[in-house]
């Protein structure tokens, strides 16, 4: 393209490197076919009675109206609400405690050893973790009931994932004490980044362990905690693998979650348009949370 455009400003125009578009072409072709197209197609077909392979009539907002009256769908949000609250309280307390304990060790080697042991479960596939916990809950041979029987508490032994009253708690307890997790890694690196001088100054001022935690550690971690909070919302909206392996949303829908409801709509009820609607709503919620977090982050940063 050299010389084809008239230089209008005093600054000489840069030559356009046309080759770069050629380099980007295959990537965008792939993304167009397998990322943009399906994402948009899902949104479009949320307005249709989608019958793949056949003619799909346009139904306007009917799927969305169906969703408003779908008790299972709303029950699934109640469940992920419970999971969320659990995820940002109990599932943070143990990692936080562990991070504080690791940092209070004076030997660098011990820190490394414990850190490694604590995160080692992360090296196992998530599915193995869930399947092992499924065994832990086994009514006859599982670890929990065996332990209860061994200490003479036979009466407490239960069918943990088969009982609607305990199924959700059982699901949430998978991975206890949850130290092999992103929150632990985040808390630990946040604590490692606190300058030693601050601790020394606190010690001179006579601040105790707890005081130090409230006045130094927590404020220093605040930004990371906000990020973890947003990630927790996003991941709870996508929660599903554990529930599908252990309970399939049962018993009696006690562990129904949005992702499973969406998949059931498509693969059990063959209501593809309705499933596309639920997927679109889940996407909109995720996007909304991300954008709100981004805006708040920018405001706080300014």
């Amino acid at each position: 393209m050299r010389g084809s455009s008239i230089v209008t400003s005093t600054k000489a125009r840069r030559r356009i490197p046309w080759g770069v578009y050629l380099v980007l072409l295959p990537t965008f072709a792939l993304l167009a076919a397998f990322a943009y197209y399906p994402a948009l197609n899902g949104m479009v077909h949320s307005l249709f009675e989608w019958r793949p392979g056949f003619e799909s009539p346009f139904v306007g907002l009917e799927n969305y109206l169906t969703m408003l009256g779908d008790d299972l769908w709303w029950a699934s949000f109640r469940n992920i609400g419970v999971i969320f609250v659990w995820a940002v309280t109990l599932m943070w307390v143990f990692p936080l405690l562990a991070a504080e304990l690791v940092m209070s060790l004076s030997s660098e080697r011990l820190r490394f050893v414990f850190r490694t042991l604590l995160i080692l479960p992360l090296a196992f596939p998530a599915v193995v973790n869930v399947l092992l916990w499924q065994f832990m809950y086994d009514p006859r041979d599982g670890v929990i009931n065996s332990l209860l029987r061994a200490v003479g508490l036979d009466g407490l032994a239960g069918n943990w994932i088969g009982d609607p009253d305990t199924a959700l708690v059982a699901l949430m307890t998978i991975g206890f004490p949850w130290v092999a997790s992103l929150p632990f890694l985040v808390f630990l690196s946040a604590l490692q980044n606190v300058p030693v001088e601050i601790y020394q100054a606190a010690e001179v001022d006579g601040a105790g362990r707890l005081r130090r935690f409230w006045s130094i550690d927590l404020p220093m971690m605040f930004r990371d905690v906000k990020l973890l909070f947003v990630l927790a919302v996003i991941s709870v909206l996508q929660y599903g693998m554990q529930a599908h392996i252990m309970t399939k949303g049962g018993p009696d829908n006690a562990t129904q979650v949005p992702v499973l409801r969406m998949l059931d709509a498509a693969f059990l009820d063959t209501s593809w348009g309705y499933a596309a609607t639920l997927g679109t709503v889940l996407f909109a919620l995720t996007l909304g949370v991300s954008l709100v977090a981004l805006l708040l982050g920018r405001k706080a940063g300014a």
Partner: protein, 274 residues
């Protein structure tokens, strides 16, 4: 006893309890994987002799096809990702051209689309293309997802590499392609490793897609395959746990030798919303 030593002891004891609690299911799995059913009930809480390695032979029969498919899917997904992502990231990091920011924004925006919310339309697309129940249907989504993630992190990495390194080569008359292949690719090895590792983690943790798109048993990757395996071996405790161990080994090896990249992969994967 000094205060520091007392702190060490208390913290060490508490951490040992936490570490043991976290590792307990895995320790139980290891011990039970070499017991026969009699030993399983007779010495439930402790390891038992003699060791029954034949459990592993039984489990290998069933789990090895899933391992093989997982390796194939991960390998080809990495190959596909590495053909596309580094070159695209190089272009975004090192060239100025009209539409650069808009095009990069289009790619980064895909980080905000969780794979699960596009699962339904993607499934219909694969159905229309007639490639359900194949290895290809498993590979493509991993290439897409990791290309997006790869371009974003590789671009940042490549932009940080000082221009001086390239200038000498440019003076010698090296073109863009040579600069990329001979200079940028070797320098970008760490970030390429991270993306490759993330791809492996993705294949080992993606549950719903292989579960829904594949029926042929040998085409199942580890997550869907192992869930199926668990249902096939109810109450066969030894082989069951041996199968879980076999399925975990590849990730354990990666964790042992590449723990830094491994952790970066986990953090990156969660941050990117996968």
């Amino acid at each position: 006893m000094s205060r520091a030593r007392r702190t060490n002891l208390v913290a060490g004891a508490a951490l040992s309890v936490l570490a043991f609690a976290g590792l307990f299911p895995y320790l139980f799995m290891l011990a039970a994987s070499v017991k026969d059913n009699d030993q399983f009930f007779a010495s439930y809480w402790s390891p038992a002799w003699p060791v029954h390695l034949d459990n592993y032979a039984v489990a290998w029969e069933q789990v090895s096809p899933y391992l093989f498919t997982s390796f194939v899917v991960a390998g080809l997904a990495i190959a596909g990702t590495l053909v596309l992502a580094p070159a695209a990231a190089f272009v975004f990091a090192r060239y100025r051209f009209p539409g650069r920011n808009a095009l990069f924004g289009l790619i980064a925006a895909l980080l905000m689309v969780p794979s699960i919310t596009s699962l339904i339309p993607l499934f219909v697309l694969m159905r229309d293309l007639g490639i359900l129940d194949s290895r290809l249907v498993l590979i493509v989504p991993h290439i897409t997802a990791n290309t997006v993630f790869g371009i974003v992190i590789m671009r940042t990495y490549m932009a940080q590499i000082p221009e001086e390194i390239f200038e000498a080569a440019r003076v010698d008359g090296a073109g863009g392609i040579r600069l990329f292949l001979a200079f940028m690719l070797p320098l970008a090895r760490p970030v390429i490793g991270t993306v490759a590792l993330m791809t492996v983690l993705g294949v080992w943790n993606d549950y719903f897609w292989p579960l829904l798109t594949v029926q042929t048993d040998a085409y199942r990757t580890i997550p869907a395959g192992l869930a199926f395996f668990a249902n096939q071996n109810v109450q066969q405790w030894g082989p069951l746990f041996a199968g879980y161990v076999l399925a975990s080994l590849p990730l354990l090896v990666l964790f042992t030798f590449l723990s830094k990249w491994f952790l970066a992969g986990i953090q990156g994967g969660i941050v990117s919303g996968k």
